[in-house]
């Protein structure tokens, strides 16, 4: 099953490599990983999506917690949560038919064209990973030139907060 883990860790040099190293060392899978400092500059917030049985994910959570730099780990998929991923996608758009088709599809998905040349469009789209996949599928008629995805960021719904 797919799990989304939220990790709060010290914003220290080397902390990220410890987390990434742990996954490869212990043969855990990483689907996506995002990380950045939080409003508190001494803390980083990481979101990892991983595939694994409950037993494996339990081990991942425990092993992550064991890393000295890690402060808290939460499996967002255990409760109600929101996940978002950002995608930038560059498409060939050299005919008006292609341009219309891309714009229409982007509208349906609430994406925006953020850059254009006579031959290309670049669309920005945010949403769950499924939605981004669906957008790519919907555009199967157009030719994709480049896809950049940020990986998932997640947060719990409601009043639950992951903080110190």
């Amino acid at each position: 099953m797919r799990h989304i883990l939220s990790v709060l860790l010290e914003n220290e040099p080397g902390a990220l490599s410890r987390v990434v190293g742990l996954f490869s060392q212990r043969n855990f899978n990483i689907e996506t990983l995002t990380v950045a400092a939080t409003d508190d500059g001494t803390l980083s917030r990481m979101t990892v999506t991983t595939l694994g049985s409950d037993k494996v994910v339990e081990q991942i959570t425990k092993q992550l917690n064991k890393l000295i730099d890690v402060i808290k780990v939460v499996d967002l998929t255990e409760g109600e949560h929101i996940e978002r991923e950002l995608m930038l996608i560059k498409l060939k758009a050299n005919s008006s038919a292609a341009r219309d088709e891309i714009k229409r599809t982007a509208d349906i998905f609430r994406g925006q064209v953020i850059d254009a040349t006579p031959n290309t469009f670049t669309v920005q789209l945010a949403g769950s990973s499924d939605k981004l996949d669906a957008f790519i599928n919907a555009l199967s008629g157009a030719s994709l030139l480049e896809v950049v995805r940020s990986g998932v960021s997640g947060i719990a719904r409601g009043e639950k907060v992951l903080s110190l």
Partner: protein, 573 residues
């Protein structure tokens, strides 16, 4: 406040941490630190002959005392030579602080002379590591390193120090912190009372209970409590290889080591148990054999300070996270206060059954009156000559298993061996680390002619510092453990498991200024060994010829249940 250079702060911080010996080897990146060592005499430096030995000495000091040992090695090759020792400590959860030199900070990343990314190389085998970025952080980093190494589930910590952090002319205010507070590191300090209560209820209702305890009892100083709990419940106790000495080896309730080379009775007890209380043990694959067939009728209670050890390989029915000693104490109170004690009739039957199993095998081995000595006989003699209270520091191989099976450890922290990594070459430096800190104790290094040659150069260190350990080399002229597997699984094709061109160990020992002895008849063994241990101020290398064809038994049948064992070359359960 006193002003000290980074180099001086390193040594001062070690002193303030109570460190007496550091084991190391100098090099360019550490020259400032070595100059600071020269200018004081409170922290004694022991110069090894290979950095691996420095880490094993520090590690063995920790195993014998419970306190973190310290190794000091230079950048590049010094650091990489230390990696095996760090991994050895990591796998057995041993507290250790390894200080590594590093190239100047502004050269890092430029493939500078003797640069290696030690933080990166050691990352998978450390509990944590620090890279010093400002000299004034040295005291607090060293304080944290010891704190992390020694608390919770212990482990090795690396402190990497670029040379420019130790410049003698740059001085800073020095103060050694009294305590550590880390928001991201707070090991569990007590077990969950509700879980402990459930565990005790289960144990009191059990008909065929067993305690399976490991290294966590030794490092967690819980042997006294363990014995009390075992007595109050009248249950058999088995120990892992790492747990030997955690329960008295000569006690009636002790059924021996369990696992791959465990005793017949220990493995039978485990297989038939209805409740297994695992404490400070991690269900290693050398213990469980086939996990799907492991203890088919048992409910499992697992006490461990590291949540990640619990339900990693075998799912626990009652997990309890916390320090063994406090949890056992709480269990003892509950047993005492319980309205009904353990089921006496069931206990009687259980012990009857166990005694039958004991009689069936009981660690027997065939003695050959004509031919060569059996390795088991040598260990039994060692046990006799040292009254069972020597520090036995072992290398890795058949001799290690024989030592584990036939030396009766009645005290914790006396059996010092590499279990998790199985590092050949561990034994001699380990014995040295122990002997330096317990000069009046008998310290034996049980080794094989293969293992001893992996750190034989340390005979020189022993001469320099007068470290009179006794080396008991079970010389079977082969990599016996490998050969045994080849006999059992590869139709005796002994691919590269023989030892040709062995040195004359007697002359070799003598050339380093030590005493060498060769023994090839059992009749001479007791006299020679007694003489060796009587020479309290000399290192004695006993080269003892043993039967090269001997196998270690029992041996579990791969992927079988606990009870599936070979009992000799021809007998199977």
């Amino acid at each position: 406040m006193e002003l000290l250079s980074g180099a001086e702060m390193v040594i001062r911080a070690l002193r303030d941490e109570g460190v007496q010996h550091i084991y190391g080897y100098p090099g360019g990146a550490l020259l400032h630190v070595y100059d600071a060592i020269f200018q004081q005499d409170e922290v004694q430096h022991v110069l090894v002959r290979h950095e691996q030995a420095a880490t094993h000495m520090a590690d063995a000091y920790a195993r014998a005392t419970g306190k973190a040992g310290v190794a000091l090695v230079t950048s590049g090759p010094g650091a990489t030579n230390a990696v095996t020792g760090i991994a050895t400590a990591y796998m057995d959860s041993i507290p250790m602080v390894v200080i590594t030199g590093q190239v100047m900070s502004f050269l890092i990343g430029e493939d500078a002379f003797q640069e290696t990314d030690m933080i990166g190389i050691s990352r998978p085998v450390v509990k944590h590591s620090f890279s010093v970025q400002r000299p004034e952080d040295i005291p607090s980093i060293i304080k944290k390193a010891f704190h992390i190494a020694q608390t919770g589930r212990p482990g090795p910590v690396v402190v990497d120090i670029p040379k420019d952090m130790t410049t003698p002319t740059e001085r800073y205010e020095y103060e050694y912190p009294k305590s550590v507070k880390m928001r991201s590191y707070n090991p569990v300090s007590r077990g969950h009372s509700g879980q402990i209560k459930k565990a005790v209820d289960l144990l009191l209702g059990a008909k065929r209970p067993v305690i399976y305890s490991g290294g966590g009892i030794i490092m967690g100083d819980a042997h006294v409590e363990l014995a009390e709990l075992a007595r109050s419940l009248n249950v058999p106790v088995t120990n892992t290889l790492m747990g030997l000495g955690g329960f008295p080896g000569t006690d009636r309730q002790f059924v021996g080591m369990l696992g791959m080379h465990g005793s017949y009775e220990a493995n039978m007890v485990m297989h038939h148990a209805d409740v297994v209380l695992a404490i400070g043990a991690r269900f290693d694959d050398r213990v469980t054999n086939g996990v799907d067939k492991f203890c088919p009728t048992a409910k499992i209670i697992h006490v461990d300070i590291d949540p990640a050890s619990i339900s990693k390989t075998i799912t626990a029915d009652i997990p309890i996270v916390g320090p063994a000693r406090d949890i056992i104490k709480e269990m003892i109170q509950l047993v005492k206060g319980a309205q009904t004690g353990p089921d006496a009739e069931a206990a009687k039957q259980w012990w009857q059954q166990i005694d039958e199993w004991r009689a069936r095998h009981g660690g027997r081995f065939d003695i050959n009156d004509e031919g060569l000595m059996k390795p088991q006989q040598v260990i039994e003699m060692l046990s006799k000559v040292t009254n069972g209270d020597a520090y036995v520091c072992s290398d890795v191989g058949q001799h290690q298993m024989f030592a584990a099976q036939y030396y009766k450890f009645n005290q914790p922290k006396r059996w010092i061996n590499s279990g998790g990594l199985g590092t050949m070459g561990f034994g001699l430096p380990a014995a040295m680390g122990v002997k330096m800190n317990f000069p009046d104790a008998h310290v034996a290094c049980v080794t094989g002619e293969g293992s001893i040659q992996m750190n034989i150069q340390e005979l020189s260190t022993c001469q320099q510092y007068d470290i009179p350990v006794k080396i008991i080399c079970l010389n079977n002229q082969s990599l016996g453990m490998v050969r045994q597997w080849q006999d059992m699984n590869y139709e005796s094709r002994h691919s590269q498991s023989y030892m040709k061109s062995l040195p004359d160990f007697v002359k070799l020992a003598e050339s380093y200024g030590h005493v060498g002895m060769k023994v090839d008849k059992y009749a001479d063994l007791e006299g020679a060994m007694t003489e060796a241990f009587a020479m309290t101020d000399r290192l004695v290398f006993m080269d003892i010829a043993v039967d090269p064809f001997e196998h270690v038994y029992p041996m579990q049948v791969p992927r079988g249940a606990m009870r599936d064992m070979w009992l000799s070359k021809t007998e199977r359960t």
